[in-house]
Amino acid sequence: MRFVSRDVVTGFVNALAILIFLAQLPELTDVTWHVYAMTAGGLGIIYLFPYLPFIGKLLPSPLVCIVALTVIYMVVGIDIRTVGDMGQLPDTLPIFLWPDVPLNLNTLFIILPYSSALAVVGLLESMMTATIVDDLTDTPSDKNRECKGQGLANVGVGLMGGMAGCAMIGQSIINIKSGGRNRLSCLASGVFLLFMVVFLGEGLKQIPMAALVAVMIMVSIGTFSWSSIRDIKQAPLSSNVVMLSTVFVVVFTHNLATGVAVGVLLSSLFFAGKISRLMVVKSNTLNETSGRHYQVIGQVFFASSESFLTSFDFKEAVENIQIDLTEAHFWDITSVSVLDKVVIKFRREGANVELIGMNQATATLIDKFAVHDKPDAFEKLLSSH
């Protein structure tokens, strides 16, 4: 999760908002004008109801929208799709059930890609939400316990006939703003939900789909990070590229996990590129004899090795070469092998090469992998090509 940058998170929520909106379009195509009127009316209630004095603050406006449109539907009796047409509603408590699938490798291969994507996205959204709640309440949370808790909850959900879930940003904010702080608030929301659903089953069937579409459009608008569009001109190019690539990949593949993976990969590449540009090699003459002093500053690794190699002048006729590594850090085998190359090339030109001031980590790496001080170093270097 530490590798998921803010740009990836912004891209993630924007893509999520777009996908939720797109998922509503089937409900809005090939329908009568009644559905459009209902949806528009629903959106009107959702956004205008909170401005009513007193009562506007008391009831959540999406709920008012659903109740109002359901009542209108039942009174007027127009023929539009309702929740009852979409499938079965619960009439009892959920029961413990082992999923009816063959327990073999074939099943595992079918579900594993989905489960891994669900696990990643679920944890990502939960960690994001936990951070938001931490900020809102000014209290710390136990992220590791939350990960395990999400896992236990999903195992339980699967065995009780439910679909995988995770923390919800919108609902958590509603909870905090309504005064919920402790574990009891989450428990209560679940218990009240089932209570209402089981006892209102018949009423739920009458909810027109148009009302749900209006609520989902509101969820989509609320999820989208509008400030990311406003700030797109000020933000650095790399940050925009990461954010927009995440959005495009998700919208194209319909898979949030792929989008996050691409975003993380891109931001790591950009970061490696930036750090590699911070590596410089300064060159000075050595005072006493005919010699040259090179001072290496910065991080030497796979992305900066190329420019490291080209910073040295191998054709200059000097006797002594001093390479000062006090301000440098060698990170990987690529950088060590490129240092080998530099040392051996200078020695081939007949110069004495001295490496000074390596830090502990660099020294360990060079002890382990460098060949320039070993016998037949030159042949080794040649044979490796």
Partner: protein, 104 residues
């Protein structure tokens, strides 16, 4: 121990219960809509939201955070449900949980 339970659960009872009702009311339409996105019966999302909220209130690490069926997760299930059906979705949900426990 008893003190801790009291503090974690019952130090804000009235507000917690009221907020719970508001959240439950807001959860119902979303749970139904997310089930429809995933392509399963509304009861699958409603059961999910109930179980998720109840279990995470005991096992979670962030008090006051609400977990339930979500759009992000529903969007990932669409093809699995279309090609293999509900039972495979339930199995995938259990496996998702196991993977998350290992990560945690």
């Amino acid at each position: 121990m008893l003190q801790k339970i009291k503090k974690e659960w019952f130090s804000n009872t009235r507000s917690d219960l009221l907020a719970g009702i508001v959240v439950a009311l807001a959860l119902i339409p979303e749970a139904i809509a997310f089930s429809i996105i995933a392509g399963v019966d509304p009861k699958v999302g409603l059961y999910a939201s109930f179980c998720m909220a109840v279990i995470i209130s005991f096992t979670g690490g962030r008090a006051g955070m609400i977990s339930a069926a979500t759009g992000a997760m529903a969007l990932l299930m669409v093809t699995l449900v279309k090609e293999h059906g509900l039972e495979y979705l339930l199995a995938a949900t259990v496996l998702t949980g196991l993977l998350q426990i290992i990560t945690g």
